[in-house]
C-alpha cells in the first residue's frame, strides 16, 4: 500500500481555484437568464407605448396578490445583487492569482488559440460593471437624465417616454451599442467557459455544442438589446 510521503497542505474544496471558478460560472448563468428575460422585455418597445408601459408595470406587480407590490422584483434584485458581488469577488481573486502565478512576463508571447472574446474577458468585465452602474443610475434610479424626456417623465410614470427621449441622444446610443459589443464578447466566452467549469463539456462534441450555444445566445442577447436604442435613434420608434 502506498504510504503518504507528503502532508496534504490543504484539504476541502472551498477556497480552491476550481471552487472560485464554479462560483463565477453559477452566478454567470444567473446573469445569462436575466439578460435573456431583460432583452425579451425590451422588445416590447416595438409594440408601442401601451405595451411597453404595461410590461413595466407588470414587473412591479409580479407575484401579486400573494406578494406585496414590488415584492418578487425585490427578491430578484437581491439575487442579482448577491450574484454580482460573488462574480466580481471570484474574478478579482482569480485575476490576482494569475498575476502571482507568472511574476516574470515573457518578452515575446504569441497567443495561438485565444479568441478575441477571451482576451477581453477581464477588462470587458470591468467595462460592463461600469456600464451597469451608469445604466442603473439612468433607468432604474433615474438620477442621470439624458435628453428631454428624463425631466418630465420619471420611470414610474412613463418608462416608454424616458427610453425614447434618452436614446434620441446619439452619443448615448453609441455608448449602449459599444456596451452590447462588450456584452457579446463576455457572453460568447463566458457561456462556453461556464459549461467547461461545470464539467458539461467532457467530450469533443459537447465542446463544439457548448461553443455554438455560447455564440448563438451571445448574438441573440446583444442584437436583441442593441436594436432598441438603434431604432429609437433612427426614428423607427418615437
Amino acid at each position: 500500500m502506498a504510504t503518504r510521503t507528503l502532508p496534504v497542505k490543504r484539504t476541502g474544496k472551498a477556497g480552491s481555484t476550481v471552487f472560485l471558478k464554479t462560483l463565477m460560472a453559477v452566478t454567470g448563468i444567473i446573469f445569462v437568464l436575466f439578460v435573456l428575460a431583460h432583452m425579451y422585455g425590451n422588445l416590447k418597445l416595438f409594440f408601442g407605448e401601451q405595451s411597453f408601459n404595461d410590461y413595466s408595470e407588470g414587473l412591479r406587480t409580479l407575484g401579486e396578490p400573494e406578494l406585496p407590490r414590488h415584492g418578487l422584483l425585490t427578491i430578484l434584485e437581491i439575487i442579482l445583487g448577491v450574484s454580482v458581488v460573488l462574480h466580481i469577488y471570484s474574478a478579482i481573486a482569480l485575476w490576482k492569482r494569475a498575476q502571482h502565478a507568472r511574476p516574470v512576463r515573457y518578452t515575446v508571447k504569441k497567443r495561438v488559440a485565444a479568441s478575441i472574446s477571451s482576451k477581453w474577458m477581464r477588462w470587458g468585465g470591468v467595462f460592463l460593471a461600469l456600464f451597469i452602474v451608469w445604466h442603473l443610475l439612468e433607468f432604474t434610479l433615474v438620477r442621470i437624465n439624458v435628453g428631454s424626456g428624463g425631466q418630465v417623465a420619471g420611470i414610474t410614470q412613463n418608462p416608454y417616454e424616458l427610453v425614447v427621449h434618452s436614446f434620441q441622444v446619439w452619443w448615448l446610443t453609441v455608448i449602449y451599442l459599444v456596451a452590447m459589443v462588450a456584452l457579446f464578447m463576455h457572453l460568447n466566452h463566458g457561456i462556453w467557459s461556464a459549461s467547461q467549469t461545470l464539467g458539461w463539456t467532457s467530450t469533443p462534441s459537447a465542446r463544439v455544442k457548448a461553443k455554438a450555444i455560447a455564440l448563438v445566445v451571445a448574438l441573440v442577447v446583444s442584437i436583441g438589446f442593441a436594436i432598441c436604442p438603434f431604432f429609437v435613434l433612427v426614428g423607427v420608434i418615437s
Binding site: R97, S115, G199, R207
Partner: protein, 246 residues
C-alpha cells in the same frame, strides 16, 4: 542558413537575467532545434564563454524534459517537443527569441532551465493508484471497454513537459492535472481513489502557486501530445462530484 538568436541568460535563481543576442551561421535545416543549440554551445566553449544551459534528455519526444519558449510559443511553431522541432521550420535570416518557461511554480534554475518538480508533487499528492506489489495480475482479469481504454491511453500520453503551464495566460496546470485525472478515472483501477485524487491534486496545484483556468485553450494548442481541452471539463466534473478527500 544564418540566424540571430536572442537567448535568456541568467546565472542563478536570484540573479538578474537578460536576453543576449548570438548570431549563428551555417545552420542545416536537418538539424533539430537542440542540435542547433549544441552547435552554438560548442562555439561558445571554443570562445571561452559559458555555454547556454538548457534541459534535454531522450531527444525523441517522449520524456518531457526539453522545454523552451521559442518566439513566444511553447516548444516552438510545430505541434511537437523542442527536441523534435527541426530547423526547416525556420527561414534564413530569422530572429529567434528563446526564453525559459515562466511560472511562479517553475522557479528558474539557470538560463533556460526551470525546476518543474511542482509537477512531481502534484502527482505525489494524488496522481497514482495504490496496488500491492508482487506478481503482475493477468491483464484480462479486469475488463475495460474500448472507448475507456482509448481515452485512458490518449490522456496517458502526457509527458509532463509543462508546455500547458508555459502557454497558459494564467500559468495554470489544469491540462496536466486533467490528463492524469482522466487517464486514471477511465480505468477500474482508478476508481477507489477517484474522489480523493482530484481534491488532493487541486489542493497541491493551488498550493504550488499555479493560476486558475480561464478556458482560453492555449494549453491544448501548445501540448506536444495534443491532450484535448475536454480533460479540463472532466477534472472540473470529478471535482464537483467528489465527496471525500481520503
Amino acid at each position: 542558413m544564418n540566424l540571430t538568436l536572442k537567448i535568456w541568460r541568467q546565472d542563478g535563481p536570484n540573479d538578474a537575467g537578460a536576453l543576449v543576442t548570438y548570431p549563428i551561421s551555417d545552420v542545416s535545416e536537418d538539424m533539430s532545434f537542440l542540435e542547433m543549440l549544441d552547435v552554438l554551445n560548442e562555439q561558445l566553449i571554443l570562445d571561452g564563454k559559458e555555454p547556454v544551459a538548457f534541459d534535454s534528455d531522450c531527444r525523441e519526444g517522449i520524456c518531457g524534459m526539453c522545454s523552451l519558449m521559442i518566439n513566444g510559443m511553447a516548444h516552438g511553431p510545430e505541434v511537437t517537443t523542442t527536441c523534435q522541432l527541426h530547423m526547416r521550420s525556420f527561414k534564413d535570416g530569422d530572429e529567434i527569441t528563446i526564453e525559459p518557461w515562466r511560472a511562479e511554480a517553475f522557479p528558474l534554475v539557470k538560463d533556460l532551465i526551470v525546476d518543474r518538480s511542482s509537477f512531481d508533487r502534484i502527482i505525489q499528492a494524488g496522481g497514482y493508484i495504490s496496488v500491492n506489489t508482487g506478481a503482475a495480475p493477468e491483464a484480462h482479469s479486469v475488463p475495460v471497454s474500448k472507448p475507456a481504454a482509448d481515452r485512458a491511453f490518449n490522456t496517458a500520453t502526457c509527458i509532463g513537459c509543462g508546455a500547458c503551464v508555459a502557454a497558459c495566460p494564467n500559468a495554470s496546470a489544469m491540462l496536466f492535472m486533467g490528463a492524469k485525472v482522466t487517464h486514471l478515472g477511465e480505468l477500474p483501477q482508478g476508481q477507489p481513489e477517484r474522489d480523493a485524487r482530484v481534491i488532493k491534486m487541486i489542493n497541491e496545484h493551488d498550493a504550488e502557486g499555479f493560476g486558475g483556468c480561464t478556458n482560453i485553450g492555449e494549453c491544448a494548442a501548445a501540448c506536444p501530445k495534443e491532450i484535448p481541452l475536454d480533460v479540463i471539463s472532466q477534472l472540473n466534473h470529478d471535482f464537483r462530484k467528489a465527496k471525500h478527500a481520503h
